[in-house]
Amino acid sequence: MTESGTMQSIVQEIIATLKDKPGALLPILHGVQNALGYVPAESVPDIAAALNLSRAEVHGVISFYHYFRDTPPGKQTIYLCRAESCQAMGGRQLEEHAKSKLGIDFHETTADGKFSLEPVYCLGNCACSPAMQIGKDIYGRVTADSFDAAINNIEASA
C-alpha cells in the first residue's frame, strides 16, 4: 500500500470508531494526531464527510486549537512553559537558551527533524518552575544545564 493509502486507512479506522460519539470532532482529531503526529490536510475531506460538516468547518476547528498541527512534527516535541510562574523562576532566560541551543524559534522544527519547539501556557507544574514537557515526561526546575542534559539524553538514546 502507498503511504497516503496507509494514512487514509488509519484515518478511516479512527473515524469509524469515534464518529458516533456526541461532539465527535475533537476526539477524531486527537485520534488522528495521536496516530500520525499531525492532522494532514488530506484527511480533512474524509473527516468532514463522516460528520456531515464542510471542509471549512473542520479546517476552522483544527486551526483554532494550538495543539492541533497540520504539518509533521519533529521526532520529539518540546513544550516549554512561558507562563507567569515559570517566568518568575527564570523562564524567559530558559526560553532564550532553548531557542539558541536548538537553533530554532517557537513553532519550528530543527533541520535534522529531531526536535520541534512549542510554547505552552502552564503544565500545572508551577511549584517546580520553570517547567517543560517532552513526550509524556514533565521536567521541573529546569536550568540551562538540565535542559541540555535532557536533550543530549534523548539524542543519545535515539
Partner: protein, 517 residues
C-alpha cells in the same frame, strides 16, 4: 513482614525524579532481599520536598525528602525501611508544620492513599457522600450543597447550590454534568493534584451532581497538558464502572450516571464555560452570549451543570458530613476551605488547604518561607493570568472573595505566583496583553483587536516612546476591554495590566505622581 513505602506518582513529583526513585527503591530492596510493598500515592503537596518518600512505621508514616535515585542505597544503609536516621529524614509526615497547620477536607486523602485503588478510597471515607445522597430526595441533596455555602472554586465564586437548583428545576429528558478540568491558570495545580491523587472523589462528586439534578451523562473536559491525569482518571472510571459506582443501576439504586473524559486541545479560552461547551460539541471554542445560562440551555442545548474540579470534589465531604460542617470553616460569605497553591519564586511552594481568612502575608512567609531566591518579594499575582498583581502594601488582605474584590483584586482559583524584585512589571503587563492576544477566541472586538493594540502600546511604553500619550491610551484601551468584552479573558486582562501600572509606575518609566490621575 512486608514494609510499605510510598513514592508519589504525581506528575510534579515525577518532574523531580520520583519515577526513577521508585525504580531505584524497588531494585535496591530486591538486591538486599527486603520485602517491600511500593505504593505510588498522590503528592502531599510539599513540593520543595519532592520526591518525598514515606515509610509506614508503627508510629506513623515517616518522610524522607527530597530523595534522588543516588540517595537510595544510603537510605537502605541507614535502615530507612524502619524509619532510621538519615540526613533526609524529616520525621513523621503529618507532624510537619506545613502539613499539620492545614485543614484538609477536599484534600483529605491526597497523598495518603493509592489514587486508583477503590478499596483504599472506600476504606478512607470514600463513597459515604454518595451513600447518603442515594437515600435523599433530589431537593435535599441540592439543599445540602446550598447550605454548605460552597461557591464555584474555578474562580467566579458563583454559589454552587443555586446553579444546581436551576438545573434541577429545568425540565428536560437529557441533562448534563460537566467538570471543567481546563485548569489553565499559571500558578494553579490543585485540580491536577485531585485528578492524579484522588480521582474517585471527583467521580463521586459528579455522580452526586447527576443524582441531584437527574443528569445521566457527565463529561470531564480535561486539558491536553495533563496526560497523567488523563490516564489516572480513565483507570479510576473503568474501576468505578466495574464495581457498580458508574453506569446503570448505581449500587443497586436503579439510577444511571455515565462518565467520559474528553481532552481539550491547548486553548486557554476553553476554560470559559460556554467556550468549553462549544469545544465539547466539536466546534471552535468561541464564547457564547449569555443568556441563556448553561443551567437552562447548555451542552447540546440541554440544562447543564458546569463546575470546576475542586467544587465537584468538595461535594462528597459535604454530603458525608453535612452542609453545616463545611460551612463552619471560612469567613464572611466565603465558606468552607480553599486549596491554595503557592508557586513561582517561593521557598516552599505547594498546596495549602485552609478555611478562608488567612492573610496573603501569612501564606507567603509563614507557609511559603519568603522568596526562593532570598530576595525581597516585589509582587504576587493571585488568581491566574487574569488576576491582579498585589504589591507588598496589600499583603494583609485576607483570603476572602469579597476582601479581594474590594481591593480590585481577584482570588480566583487560589493560585499565588510570587515574583522577587528582579521582575519588571511593564514586561509582565506586556505579557498579559500578549497572552490575551494569543488566546483570544476572536468573537468580540475589544478582546481580539484590543489585545493586539495592547501589545503595541506596551512596546512603545517599554521603549519610552511618547509616554504622555501612551499611558492614557493604555488606560483607555483597558477601559474598553474591561467593559466591552464578552467574557473574562478580555474583560479581566486589564487587572494584571492596570495593577502593574498603578502599583509599579516606575517600571513604566513614569513617577507615581504622573499616573495618579
Amino acid at each position: 513482614m512486608s514494609i510499605t513505602i510510598y513514592v508519589p506518582c504525581d506528575s510534579s513529583a515525577a518532574s523531580m525524579g520520583a519515577d526513577r526513585v521508585a525504580i531505584a527503591i524497588a531494585e535496591e530492596a530486591a538486591k538486599r532481599g527486603i520485602d517491600i510493598k511500593l505504593i505510588r500515592n498522590g503528592s502531599r503537596g510539599m513540593y520543595w520536598l519532592e520526591p518525598l518518600v514515606e515509610v509506614a512505621t508503627d508510629k506513623g508514616r515517616v518522610a524522607y525528602g527530597p530523595v534522588q535515585p543516588g540517595d537510595v542505597s544510603g537510605l537502605f544503609d541507614a535502615n530507612f525501611t524502619q524509619g532510621g536516621a538519615h540526613a533526609l529524614n524529616l520525621g513523621l509526615t503529618e507532624e510537619l508544620d506545613y502539613f499539620k497547620k492545614q485543614q484538609r477536607l477536599t484534600f483529605a486523602r491526597i497523598g495518603k492513599t493509592d489514587p486508583i485503588s477503590l478499596t483504599d478510597y472506600v476504606a478512607n471515607d470514600g463513597y459515604r457522600g454518595l451513600k447518603n445522597a442515594l437515600a435523599m430526595t433530589q431537593a435535599d441533596i441540592v439543599k445540602a450543597v446550598t447550605d454548605s455555602g460552597l461557591r464555584g472554586r474555578g474562580g467566579a465564586a458563583f454559589p454552587t447550590g443555586i446553579k444546581w437548583n436551576t438545573v434541577l428545576n429545568t425540565a428536560s429528558l437529557q441533562k448534563y454534568i460537566i467538570c471543567n478540568a481546563d485548569e489553565g491558570d499559571s500558578g494553579t495545580f490543585s485540580d491536577r493534584m485531585v485528578m492524579e491523587g484522588d480521582p474517585f472523589v471527583l467521580i463521586e462528586g459528579m455522580t452526586i451532581a447527576g443524582l441531584a439534578v437527574d443528569a445521566s451523562q457527565g463529561y470531564i473536559y480535561l486539558r491536553i497538558e495533563y496526560p497523567h491525569a488523563f490516564e489516572i482518571l480513565n483507570a479510576a472510571i473503568a474501576t468505578a464502572y466495574k464495581e457498580g459506582y458508574l453506569g446503570e443501576n448505581i449500587q443497586g439504586s436503579g439510577k444511571t450516571f455515565n462518565l467520559e473524559v474528553r481532552q481539550g486541545a491547548g486553548a486557554y479560552v476553553c476554560g470559559e464555560e460556554t467556550s468549553l461547551m462549544e469545544s465539547l460539541e466539536g466546534k471552535r471554542g468561541l464564547v457564547r452570549f449569555k443568556p441563556p445560562l448553561p443551567a437552562i440551555s447548555g451542552l447540546f442545548g440541554q440544562p447543564t451543570i458546569v463546575n470546576n474540579v475542586i467544587s465537584l470534589a468538595s461535594v462528597p465531604v459535604i454530603l458525608d458530613k453535612g452542609g453545616d460542617y463545611y460551612r463552619d470553616f471560612g469567613m464572611g460569605r466565603s465558606r468552607g476551605t480553599l486549596p491554595i497553591q503557592l508557586a513561582g519564586n517561593i521557598k516552599r511552594p505547594g498546596l495549602v488547604e485552609l478555611g478562608f481568612g488567612l492573610t496573603l502575608r501569612e501564606l507567603l512567609y509563614d507557609f511559603g518561607g519568603g522568596s526562593a531566591s532570598g530576595r525581597p518579594i516585589k509582587a504576587v499575582q493571585v488568581g491566574g493570568p487574569l488576576g491582579a498583581y498585589l504589591p507588598e502594601a496589600q499583603f494583609d488582605t485576607p483570603l476572602d472573595y469579597e476582601a479581594f474584590a474590594a481591593n480590585w483584586t481577584v482570588l480566583g482559583h487560589g493560585g499565588i505566583v510570587v515574583f522577587d524584585d528582579t521582575v519588571n512589571m511593564a514586561e509582565m503587563a506586556r505579557y498579559s496583553m500578549e497572552f490575551c492576544k494569543i488566546e483570544s477566541c476572536g468573537k468580540c472586538t475589544p478582546c481580539r483587536i484590543g489585545s493586539t493594540r495592547g501589545v503595541e502600546v506596551m512596546d512603545d511604553i517599554i521603549n519610552g516612546r511618547n509616554l504622555d500619550k501612551n499611558i492614557p491610551l493604555l488606560r483607555d484601551l483597558c477601559d474598553t476591554l474591561l467593559n466591552g468584552s464578552l467574557c473574562a479573558l478580555g474583560g479581566m486582562t486589564p487587572y494584571p495590566v492596570l495593577s502593574a501600572l498603578n502599583h509599579f509606575p516606575e517600571d513604566f518609566g513614569i513617577n507615581a505622581k504622573a499616573t495618579a490621575a
